[in-house]
């Protein structure tokens, strides 16, 4: 089912006196139940593309529609609040809170009720037990922090989860666990998971790989489904 439709998206950066084209009329469609990997060389525009589909920035041309409605019409703040979950390379957890509280913050922002039990359940489903959930996040390992970041991204029950280099700071074993979690979210919970990565190992586990061509600003799509 077509969830997110990217049409003719054009994006440039000012680069000194000139303008650098990052995305040149890109057309991509994302569907539910799939794990997507966006790969490309450094500076190719992977993260820029991710910010556009996460509603953190707007394209200069083209449209991004979510379930048939332009995200600008939905409102980027509303879109982020209710339809997208984000995971970052450096976790970006609130450092003075516990894992549970980090999840509760996201739940509170999206207006969820009866949050505490749901938050524990959510954390448990990604392998964070209650005692760890109640610990300050700085006292958790990188892998545990990233799990909490994933739980936070899931807190608003979004259709789309975007992750920017989610395994960039993790060791190989933890990387497998996290990607496993993403696969599970896509296959079992019918989420559309979009991961930006440098790692071919990670990319190979995705259902669809989008290779961004640095100079052309367009995607080459490898569909492994």
């Amino acid at each position: 089912m077509k969830l997110l439709d990217i049409k003719d998206v054009f994006f440039t950066y000012p680069d000194g006196d000139s303008v650098r084209t990052i995305l040149d009329h890109v057309n991509v469609t994302f569907e539910k139940g799939n794990l997507y990997a966006i790969v490309g060389s450094s500076g190719s525009g992977k993260t820029t593309f991710l910010t556009l589909i996460a509603g953190l920035d707007t394209a200069q041309e083209g449209s991004i529609t979510f379930k048939g409605k332009d995200i600008a019409e939905i409102g980027l703040w509303e879109y982020r609040r209710n339809h997208v979950g984000m995971v970052f390379q450096s976790y970006n957890l609130i450092p003075y809170m516990t894992g549970l509280e980090n999840v509760l913050v996201a739940m509170g922002i999206s207006g969820k009720k009866h949050m505490k039990d749901s938050a524990y359940e959510l954390l448990d489903s990604i392998g964070i037990e209650k005692n760890k959930a109640n610990r300050n996040v700085r006292r958790l390992s990188g892998g545990e922090q990233q799990r909490i970041a994933i739980a936070r991204a899931m807190a608003n029950q979004p259709d789309i989860i975007v992750a920017d280099e989610p395994t960039g700071n993790l060791d190989g074993e933890t990387e497998d666990t996290i990607i496993g979690l993403f696969r599970k979210l896509a296959s079992e919970q019918d989420k559309c998971v979009i991961v930006v990565t440098h790692s071919e190992k990670v990319a190979k586990q995705a259902n669809v790989i989008l290779r961004l061509h640095a100079t052309k600003g367009t995607f080459v799509i490898e569909d492994n489904r």
Partner: protein
């Protein structure tokens, strides 16, 4: 978890980082609290003194004229009546006292006759009552009827009854030829009021009828004769007659008139101003008005100065507090850019982020202010009372307290006693209001700054 809970967690989980803000807010709000406490105490003492002095205007001769004894000491009743007829005069208290001789046969037998314009005897002798006869009628008072009310003690002493025509007058021996004048006063009432005792001068077995010392409840212990009350206008006329008669025989009589400074209670401060405008220059020489507002200023000048200094310190502190707290909050939020970015990325409403920041500042400030309200009061108590005492002392030395011709003018000690710094509801509420306003104002620039942040630039 809503923004209020987040604010609370942020404060309690990062006490170290909030300490700088707490310390600065405590310091500055303590200064504000002290200034405010001084201001409120100053305003209270001013209001109290104004209430005490009231809306009063007194009429008295110029001090220089008094000092050289150039003139008679009381304003003629006819002149006073022009002034008190002004509608802004609520009431007035005036009495001319003059010692007249009581018996033609005995030169030293004197009766102090006090003038009144008020038919209520209690106006003169509180807690007294008429035991025989009656008090004055308005007509007798305004037309100057030769009637008087005497004390019971005087009536007993001189065997006076209501309806008697009692002679009063002057007898003066000049070159062995007595000069005298007499006028009859009808006794219309006897009042049981002031306590009459025998004079210490004549203490002994023989009961004298000359110098009698009396104490009334108002402790007017300067009156040393048997007392009678008569209409002001009569006494005034008799004094003038006496003076004229004495001048005829070459005596310039200018003593023994016991001046009662007329004190006029005015309806309002506007009426005081109007009186100044209408009558300020119309009094006969050498009399002048002493306006209560002038006197209040004279007494409360140092308080006003302190009040102004306190206000300046408070305003200055508030401005400094806004700048300094803004900087601290700005630095504090700069460290929390990531956290703000996360809220943005999660789609938190901007107003909730603003609310969280403001609440954090309020929580820290509330703790600081709790400390400040006590510290400020303590500082204000210790500092300003001594300062006021010193300033009042300096002012008295510079001005000379005798310039103020009004018995109601408070002394330095009375002003200092009335000046009390205390934690009133008004003080606490004003302090909280002003402090909250200041710290809230200090969040404006940092908040505008954080709302400009772009989550993409912070997080990715």
């Amino acid at each position: 978890m809503n923004s209020l809970k987040r604010a609370w967690l942020s404060v309690i989980r990062k006490p170290g980082k909030n300490f700088l803000l707490f310390f600065i807010v405590t310091l500055l709000t303590t200064l504000m609290a002290a200034s405010l406490a001084i201001r409120i105490a100053s305003n209270n003492v001013t209001a109290e003194m104004q209430n005490r002095i009231g809306l009063q205007v007194s009429i008295a001769p110029e001090r220089t004229e008094l000092a050289y004894g150039m003139v008679g000491q009381h304003i003629p009743y006819s002149e006073l009546k022009k002034v008190v007829s002004y509608k802004g005069v609520k009431s007035y208290n005036y009495g001319i006292s003059y010692p007249f001789q009581a018996y033609k046969a005995h030169q030293q037998s004197m009766v102090l006759v006090e003038g009144t314009q008020n038919p209520d005897i209690k106006h003169y002798w509180p807690n007294s009552k008429i035991v025989e006869g009656r008090t004055f009628t308005e007509q007798e008072l305004t037309e100057g009827a030769h009637v008087m009310v005497v004390s019971k003690q005087m009536a007993d002493l001189h065997n006076i009854t209501v309806g008697d025509n009692y002679p009063l007058g002057r007898r003066y021996v000049m070159y062995f030829d007595p000069f005298e004048e007499w006028f009859d006063m009808e006794v219309i009432g006897i009042v049981d009021g002031p306590e009459v005792t025998r004079s210490w001068l004549f203490e002994g077995d023989s009961f004298d009828e000359y110098m009698i010392y009396y104490y009334s409840e108002t402790q007017r212990d300067w009156d040393i004769f048997p007392i009678a009350i008569a209409p002001n206008i009569v006494i005034d006329q008799q004094i003038i007659n006496t003076k004229l008669n004495y001048r005829l025989v070459g005596i310039n009589l200018r003593q023994n008139v016991d001046m009662r400074i007329p004190i006029l209670e005015m309806e309002s401060f506007e009426a005081v101003k109007e009186m100044r405008r209408l009558f300020g220059k119309q009094l006969p020489m050498p009399f002048k008005f002493n306006f209560a507002d002038d006197q209040i200023l004279a007494v409360l000048g140092p308080i006003g100065t302190l009040n102004m200094i306190a206000e300046a310190v408070m305003v200055f502190t508030m401005i400094i507090a806004v700048f300094v707290c803004s900087l601290i909050i700005l630095l504090y939020l700069k460290e929390r850019r990531h956290e703000i970015g996360i809220y943005f990325a999660l789609g938190e409403k901007k107003r909730n982020i603003v609310l969280q920041v403001v609440m954090e500042v309020w929580i820290v400030s509330a703790l600081a202010m709790t400390l400040s309200v006590f510290a400020g009061t303590w500082i204000a108590k210790g500092f300003s009372s001594e300062l006021i005492r010193l300033q009042l002392l300096i002012a008295e030395v510079q001005k000379g307290k005798d310039d103020i011709v009004n018995d109601n003018i408070p002394t330095r000690e009375e002003v200092v006693d009335a000046y009390t710094v205390k934690m009133s509801n008004e003080y606490i509420l004003l302090f909280i209001g002003l402090s909250m306003l200041t710290v809230t104002a200090s969040t404006i620039v940092p908040i505008v700054n954080i709302l400009k942040l772009k989550p993409k630039e912070i997080l990715l």
